[in-house]
Symmetry: C2
Subunit: 440 residues, 2 copies
Amino acid sequence: MSNCRQQAAGSTKLTPEEHLANITELIAQFGTWPSTESILVADALDRYLVTAVPAPYDSPRFSNSQVDGYALSQAALDRLPGSFSVGADIPAGADPALKYPQGIDPDNSGETIVPIMTGAKIPAGVAAIVRVEDAVPPEFPENTHNDGTNGTNTDASRGKPTAPRREISMAQKGQFIRQQGIDSRAGEVIVDSGEVLSPTAIAALAFQGVSTVKVRKRARVLIATGGAEVAEIGELDAEAGSAVIPDANFPMLAAQAQRYGLEPVGRVHIDDDVDSLATSLQKAIDVHQPDLVVTSGGISKGKYEVVRQLLADGDGAWFGAVAQQPGGPQGYGSFAGVPCICLPGNPVSSLVSFRLFVAPAVGLVPEPIKVISAEPLTGLSDKDQFLRARFEYSSGHVRARVVSGPGSHLLQQAVAADALVRVPAGATVNARQRLWAYPL
Amino acid sequence: MSNCRQQAAGSTKLTPEEHLANITELIAQFGTWPSTESILVADALDRYLVTAVPAPYDSPRFSNSQVDGYALSQAALDRLPGSFSVGADIPAGADPALKYPQGIDPDNSGETIVPIMTGAKIPAGVAAIVRVEDAVPPEFPENTHNDGTNGTNTDASRGKPTAPRREISMAQKGQFIRQQGIDSRAGEVIVDSGEVLSPTAIAALAFQGVSTVKVRKRARVLIATGGAEVAEIGELDAEAGSAVIPDANFPMLAAQAQRYGLEPVGRVHIDDDVDSLATSLQKAIDVHQPDLVVTSGGISKGKYEVVRQLLADGDGAWFGAVAQQPGGPQGYGSFAGVPCICLPGNPVSSLVSFRLFVAPAVGLVPEPIKVISAEPLTGLSDKDQFLRARFEYSSGHVRARVVSGPGSHLLQQAVAADALVRVPAGATVNARQRLWAYPL
């Protein structure tokens, strides 16, 4: 134990914030993370954007119709209320300059109105658009899409040529025209660096024709769990007298890694032998090339604390105590040049520690929020508690209700939790007190 | 247009709730969803559990030590404060009955205490555990793990046999023992049916040796987007005079599908021809075997509304208006026996509609929550508005602040939104008014 750079007995414990800062520093010192990659926008959901993307175009990139309706010139507007002949229509996706090279009303007569579909580009000379249902009769004439029959038509029910006409009573200048650039201007930032891409952000990028983005690579995490009392998957002797338990930590930490935007790349089983841990860790690092290793267990004061025994002499190592419960014993170090974050082995301690120290350092976590405690709580005298809790929303308030006892072995009771609520050391919390809650 | 089962002009529009109920009914009527599958617990993050899982064992399944320390018998407790010889240790994972078949103090002498590691099974005869650091000297003796040297030891620094002893001043009966079943009892439900599996739930299942769970299959969604003004990917003519725009809806809807627990399985491009839509839809259904089709665009009053034209005569079809903005025009139907949900084509309308109607019907969405409006808002006279907004948490309150104008073409402005805030028809909202917000 003389090898371990533990904190001296009685020394001040680190705050959770200090420990997170140290881990962030460790990653910066040893890590290959963060590196970046360019990926397709379509594959970029929930990825962290590294470079701000400016819009190449105005949005909308051309003025277009907001509705299915009739385009009116200023001269037509001036004739309202009135009756109009109906010109050749403008479908969405067609360049209206082909049908109306000089605009919809080159002689400023105001005689003819032009059917235009939702999303269609506005041709020259349009002052307003009237919805199809606001004209009389309230639907489009047939067959106005053939340019050659502009202004004339065959009424199928009567079998003879007619000139389709529509009555329009009123319109406001500019109505139902989506002006070019009304949403945003070319050069404006669509999504800023540091943002995490939502479906809406992906749509906004795609809408601007942006097909690839530069994002952070997901941190590749090798997860080492076990301890002699923990059975490898499939190995468990389930008989009543057994002193071993199944490994809950590997599936849990792998799921947390996914939830917080990391990529679990491999697994190492820890038994209680330092040399075999060194061998299997080296092998897994060679195979999986992780950005970091996360271990669970083997760091406290027992006699078989192989993680601490393996790493405590290595570069940058620290093993000691953080002033919190659960998750008091913590550690970090490096192995084969790869940073290692060493969590305590109780499942709940591991869960809390991964959320508080691994995810914020190399992943994506929601910000803590101030909540109202749903019940009176009494803190511990000398350390902050992170109790498993559930958010409750009502009438504009957000509360957190504790769902589990404080013990770090109370995993089953923690299942309903979607937050950790932090009870400061020495605090006596009443119903009006605000606490920080960390969404899980 | 005579084919369309549209609502009669002036008929009462559906509420969003009525439309969602109709879509849920459509899925039940035509759908192959929900079906179930058994998957590995380790792969089950964010999946919807179909069958409640009862615990096969107590948790913890055997009483074990909460700390690295010394196990004391009742007779030893009765001797406190006192000095004790140190017996052979109990590592985690070992059956203590092998070293202590008759318990740690078969003769009730209280002379000997037994080193025991965190997580190790408690042998018979243990009344309390004292932390290693609370004994004097505050660390374990060497070499107590060899059963044959029980009670005697070789002090390496002096080279002659010694009997290691420890002074202990006080202990409370039962301390640092995690009692079997204290977390939960065999037979209690670990995770209930209808729950979505979190990392903690996965850990609790794995901890009980549960390796597979029965979950809902993810709904397989075929996404059809386009319209003649929308270019297929890679096809866009970006020159200034172009009247076409890139397809924002496919990547957006595919990302929403992923976010809400659906599986986007394929894509159909909609152009403005009914027959070619029928052909490509049939082909994609044959290939991808979707549980449902989601279309975007082609359902309103224009002349090229191919989705409506294709589906309006089919089984169970409905095309009409929902009293909301954006997303007023809505529709549904079936094609080749597959239910089709038909969303309006504007990106923001599609976004809102997918969140309100597709995700809740076949996916997983967070519950709406009551929030405080961050600003005065005035509703429309005749329909509910779903404004793009951002949650703001402060001091136990949750507010929603609108980030975008109301227009359904204001996609770029919606990028910052993480919620839809619902402004009821006719409402005048002041700063104290509570509104429903739908997390995106």
